[in-house]
Subunit: 319 residues, 2 copies
């Protein structure tokens, strides 16, 4: 291995926040060396607990994550937070939110916060988040929290790769169980009803229960519902207990490895898809894609035959 | 070409709704023959106007689409509607909504409505919707409307492939311009403020205007804002006019082909990605993926080297 990478990794694992930040940036941007870095870090991973949290904008997600972080810090656990923020570039929400939160935790090196904003690349955010979590894991953080706004497939992909997935609902916000993004309710290992002092909390709870009565999970776990008022710290300890409860259940039922294998199957498919696409692109000489698109737009050829030709060509020529 | 496919296409192009439904199902599910069918249909495409509409749940999207459909029917245009419904399987919203709407238009063969529910496959919904639109286009429909809930990247991908994209906002629903999914505001060619008789309509309009003042579009078009009350048919004619206005602008500025080429570039990348992944999967003998995932979960190998090996192997062996 490159001796520079070894020095870098040693620093990162000794807790140097700059080495950590540089490593996350490297894998996020696929800067030179990203692949070697991840390969070298992988043997050091698998120790951190990874918790995914998702909820609509305004559900108090960040406040809840901060409360949990404080809770775990009291137990002397080190915490890494990845805040995935799909806020429009118009508002700059990611950067602003980051600064406000950094002030709070500035004095505590035991909490590391990193924001990730939506990039243009399809699927790119899920990949970047997974890789950043790998780096944090290798750096020796005890606990990693990944928070995302639960609005799209991207977000589902991001949080379902966590060991424990928490879905945050709030009463009366129009994000009723009926209208919430498909796939979000199904991935919850623990439900949180935040701002539970508001009217309608019981209704949300009833709706979750009704939904749960309709379907059985493969692992036969019934996700508990924890009521919190994150802004006042109410329910944080109960939530941490519920998280630990699910982890204990997975262990007891011998499901930890099984869940891990399933997660890796999905990640492998995504990684292969990306890698193969890069190959296909390389196979097309510069400018080909645009030329092909123009021929299709002008109806000079059909896209379905073209894709078969390119993939077939890649096959024949070994790219 | 297979003579059966030719008979099928003849029927479809003569307006037979069963031939149309069967063709959409075939491409949606990638049933045998889907690729030959699309290849044979492609030369008949490119004539329909494709309009994409997106808005949050409860924004009155379907009602607006129905009003537009009636408007275009009065001008003797045939209409195809693809309603992409990411409602959770728990609620069965897609099917229910379809039935209710079908009753309304049952007597008019000039309107064809098709629902598409979210599937598990990543990116699969955008692909299936694009292919269904291709079939509708080839069937001779004058106008195709694609409606989706504007909540995620999937939806952005779906509607941005339309010729004209409409983003529907409503006052006071918590989907303020500030909190709406990134990428949604940017893709609007026309804004609709529906339920504009509610308090707060002016505020939404001001917010859109403020956002517009921050950025210039590549095509230098300023998306108009149309106020509607779809439940009462208010503003439908104005919306149709705004749509026609953008189409006329694209024509006048010679941007029609350019936009088409850009759209096809993006679709080609997606199609290639999927096709290459299928090749990669075929390259791995049955069960390999799970075995590899298990080896990674047990930390016996790292996923980054593995992906390089598989892609490299595909290269060496020509798959």
């Amino acid at each position: 291995m490159n001796p520079d990478i070894q020095t870098w990794i040693d620093r990162l694992r000794s807790g140097d926040p700059r080495a950590l930040a540089r490593a996350i940036s490297t894998v996020e941007n696929r800067a030179p060396g990203w692949s070697d870095l991840l390969k070298a870090l992988f043997p050091h991973t698998g120790k951190a607990r990874v918790i995914g949290l998702t909820g609509a904008p305004g559900s108090g997600k960040s406040t809840l994550v901060d409360q949990l972080a404080k809770h775990y810090r009291k137990a002397n656990q080190t915490v890494g937070i990845i805040a995935v923020d799909p806020t429009s570039p118009y508002t700059g929400g990611a950067i602003l939110g980051d600064r406000i939160r950094m002030q709070d935790h500035y004095s505590d090196p035991g909490i590391y916060i990193r924001s990730m904003a939506t990039r243009g690349a399809l699927g790119g955010l899920a990949r970047a988040t997974a890789d950043a979590a790998t780096v944090l894991d290798a750096s020796g953080r005890d606990l990693i929290m990944i928070e995302t706004v639960g609005v799209g497939q991207d977000e589902v992909d991001i949080v379902r790769l966590a060991d424990v997935t928490i879905v945050i609902l709030v009463p009366g916000m129009g994000d009723d169980v009926q209208t919430i993004k498909a796939g979000i309710m199904e991935i919850a290992d623990v439900f949180v009803i935040n701002k539970s002092d508001r009217e309608g909390a019981e209704r949300v709870e009833r709706e979750i229960r009704a939904m749960q009565s309709l379907a059985t999970r493969n692992d036969h776990w019934t996700p508990p519902i924890v009521k919190t008022v994150a802004s006042e710290g109410v329910g944080t300890a109960e939530l941490a207990e519920a998280i630990a409860g699910y982890e204990a259940y997975l262990k007891k039922e011998n499901l930890v490895l099984k869940k891990n294998v399933e997660n890796w199957q999905e990640r492998l498919v995504e990684m292969l898809r990306d890698a193969m696409l890069e190959k296909a692109r390389a196979h097309m000489d510069g400018g080909s894609l645009e030329r092909y698109a123009a021929e299709i737009a002008e109806h000079k050829r059909d896209p379905y035959s073209l894709v078969e030709e390119i993939v077939g060509g890649a096959e024949r020529d070994a790219f």
